[in-house]
Symmetry: C2
Subunit: 344 residues, 2 copies
C-alpha cells in the first residue's frame, strides 16, 4: 500500500497542504508541526510521488545545448544521449534545443551571448572550444542569473555551474601508460598534435609529460600536423611526417585525427610501424584497430555523457537540487581490436 501525503495528514488531523509545506521546506509551518509531520512520515516511510508533484507544479525548463558538428561520429552519439534523456524528462517538463555549429572562439562567444539574451532558454549547456576565452561570457551570464554548464570541454576557471566530461590530464597519462604497456622495452615514442592549441590539448600533453616524468622516460619532440596554418591538405601534411616517424615505436595521437594519421602511417614505408594509441572510436578508427594499425584508443561513452549533461540541468533546475559535484568526470574506456564492436 502506497503511503500518501493525505494519509499522513489524516493521521495527524491536519491538511495535506501542511504536509506539502513541510516536505518542500516552504516557510509557514511551526517547528513543532514540522517535526510531527517528519516523524510520522519516517514512521510510515512516506515518499512523495514525483509524478503527482510534476503534474501539479507544471514547471517548464527549456535548455539550449550548443556543440560542434565535427567530428560527426562523436557528436552524433552525444546527441543521441541527449535525446534519450530528453525522452524521459520531457514528461517532467524538460525541453531541449540542440544548436550545432563548428565555430572559432569569437563566433562561439557571440552565439553564447545571443543565447543568454534571447529569452528563449532557461539554461545553456555547451562545449567551449577553448577555456580562457570564455571566462568573461560565462561570468557575465552567471552573474545575471543565467545558468550555464559546460560539457565535453571545460573552462574550469569560469563560474560555470558544472562540467560533465573527461579529465584530459588523466587521458594524457593513460595514453602514456598504454603506450608503455603495448610497446615493450624500447622507448622511442612521442605524440602527434595539430596546431589547435586548445585547453583540452594542453591538458593531454601535460598529462602525457607527467606520466613520462613519473616513469623516468623522455619522449621525442612532438610532431605537429599543420595543415591549416600551411593551408595544406590533411593527408599531405601527415605524409610529410614520414622522416620523423621512422624510428619511432610508439605514437600517441592526441588530436582528433586518429584515423587519418593511422591511414597515413600505414601508407608510409617504415621499417617498423609504431604502436599507435589515440582517442575516440568510429567506423574508420575501428577499421585500423581491426587491421592492427591502431592498437588502442581511449574513449568516453558519448551517449552517457550526453545523458549526464541533461540530467545535471534537470536535477539542478527542475528538482532544485544543489550541485554537489561541480566536476562530473566520466570514465575513460580502453578500446582495442577485441572489444571495439561494443563501441560502434
Amino acid at each position: 500500500m502506497k503511503i500518501t501525503a493525505k494519509m499522513i495528514a489524516e493521521q495527524l488531523g491536519i491538511s495535506t497542504a501542511t504536509v506539502d509545506r513541510v516536505f518542500n521546506n516552504r516557510n509557514g509551518v511551526s517547528p513543532k508541526m514540522a517535526h510531527k509531520v517528519k516523524e510520522k512520515a519516517k514512521e510510515l516511510n512516506y515518499k512523495p510521488n514525483k509524478s503527482a508533484s510534476f503534474l501539479s507544479r507544471k514547471k517548464e525548463i527549456r535548455a539550449a545545448f550548443l556543440f560542434p558538428i565535427f567530428p560527426e561520429y562523436f557528436w552524433k552519439e552525444i546527441e543521441r544521449g541527449i535525446w534519450t534523456a530528453h525522452e524521459d524528462m520531457y514528461h517532467y517538463g524538460m525541453d531541449i534545443e540542440i544548436i550545432r555549429k563548428d565555430h572559432e572562439v569569437e563566433e562561439q562567444i557571440k552565439t553564447v551571448e545571443d543565447i543568454i539574451v534571447s529569452d528563449k532558454y532557461d539554461a545553456l549547456v555547451f562545449a567551449p572550444v577553448d577555456a580562457e576565452p570564455f571566462l568573461n561570457v560565462i561570468q557575465k551570464g552567471i552573474n545575471q542569473g543565467f545558468p550555464i554548464y559546460t560539457f565535453n570541454n571545460d573552462s574550469p576557471l569560469s563560474k560555470r555551474l558544472s562540467y560533465v566530461g573527461a579529465d584530459y590530464l588523466d587521458a594524457g597519462r593513460l595514453a602514456g601508460e598504454l603506450l608503455h604497456q603495448f610497446m615493450g622495452p624500447s622507448k622511442n615514442f612521442t605524440l602527434i598534435l595539430d596546431e589547435l592549441n586548445t585547453f583540452q590539448m594542453k591538458q593531454k600533453i601535460k598529462g602525457f609529460q607527467e606520466w613520462a616524468a613519473y616513469n623516468g622516460v623522455t619522449f621525442e619532440t612532438p610532431l605537429y600536423i599543420e595543415h591549416r596554418r600551411l593551408n595544406r591538405n590533411l593527408n599531405e601534411s601527415i605524409a610529410l611526417l614520414e622522416q620523423d616517424i621512422e624510428g619511432l615505436d610508439g605514437i600517441y595521437v592526441a588530436c582528433g585525427a586518429l584515423a587519418d594519421v593511422a591511414g597515413g602511417i600505414e601508407r608510409m614505408n617504415l621499417k617498423n610501424r609504431p604502436i599507435i594509441v589515440g582517442h575516440d572510436i568510429s567506423k574508420d578508427i575501428n577499421h585500423y584497430l581491426q587491421k592492427g594499425v591502431v592498437t588502442a584508443t581511449i574513449c568516453q561513452d558519448p551517449v552517457f555523457q550526453g545523458r549526464q549533461a541533461v540530467q545535471t540541468v534537470f536535477n539542478h533546475l527542475m528538482l532544485e537540487e544543489e550541485i554537489d559535484q561541480v566536476e562530473q568526470i566520466v570514465k575513460l574506456e580502453i578500446v582495442t581490436k577485441g572489444n571495439a564492436k561494443y563501441y560502434i
Copy 2:
C-alpha cells in the same frame, strides 16, 4: 505550449475519453473517429504525458531479484544499479525486492519455484548458477504466465523472456586477444579455471579456444583450482600450481578468483612472471593491477547491468512494450592500471 488530450478533444469536438481510447488502442472507437484523432494528434505533435498517465492508472508491479552474495564486490554494484533504477521507477509504481543467496543448483531451483507460487511477486529476475538445470523451472513459470528474466548468467535455451548481461563466449575471445597483445612474441599461455563447470565458464573456455584456433596458436593444458573437490584452502590450491605456471608467459584467469591467483603467483619463485588477464574489478584486483601483477581485467559495468535489468521488466510489464531484444548484451570493458580508478 504543451499539447494535451483535451486540446485534441476540443478541436475535434469530442471528449478526452475518446482520445484516450485511441491512444491506448482500446476497443470501442469507430475507425473513422480513430483516424481523425490520430491525424489531429500528428498535426499537433501530441505526446501523452506519462506522469499523468501513471498517476491515474495506479498500476503496481512487484519484481523479485534473485542473485548470489559472492563475490560481494561484484553483486553489491549490481545491487546499487538496481536500487538507483528503483529510485526512478518507484514513482511510476515499480517495486522491487532483492533476495540474495549463494546456493547450489538444487536450492536455487527451489527458491525460484517458491517465488513463482508465492503470489507476492509479479515477476522474477534472476542469475541462474547454470544453464541447463533451469530449463524446466523457467519453462513451467513462463507457461503459467509468470514472467521470468535472467541477468548476468543466462539459460539461453529456456523460455526466459530476456537476458541482460555479457556474452561470455566473446569474453573468452577477448581474453585471448588481450593476452596476445600484451604478451609479445612468445606464446606459452593457458587459462586457469575452478571446478565449477558452469555454462558461463564453458562459454569463456570455448571463446578462448575459438580465438586460439582462429589465430593458429595452441595453448597449454588448462590449470584447475580444485580446492572444493580436494577440500583444501584456496591459496594452498593455487600454490600447488607453481610447477605448471613456471615457464608460462600468459595466463587467463577465467574463474572468479583473479585477486587470489594474482597474489599466489606473486608469491611464487618464478623466473618470469606471466602476464595475467582476468575478469572484474575490486579493491584487491586493483591492488594487483597497480603493482603490475595483473595486466588487464575484463569488466562489465555492473551498475549499468543492474539498471538495465530493472528497466527491462519495467518496460515490459509496466509500459507493456514488446521485448524487441531478447538478449541484451552489455559491453565488455578493458581495465588496466591506467584507467582502473574509474572502476572502483
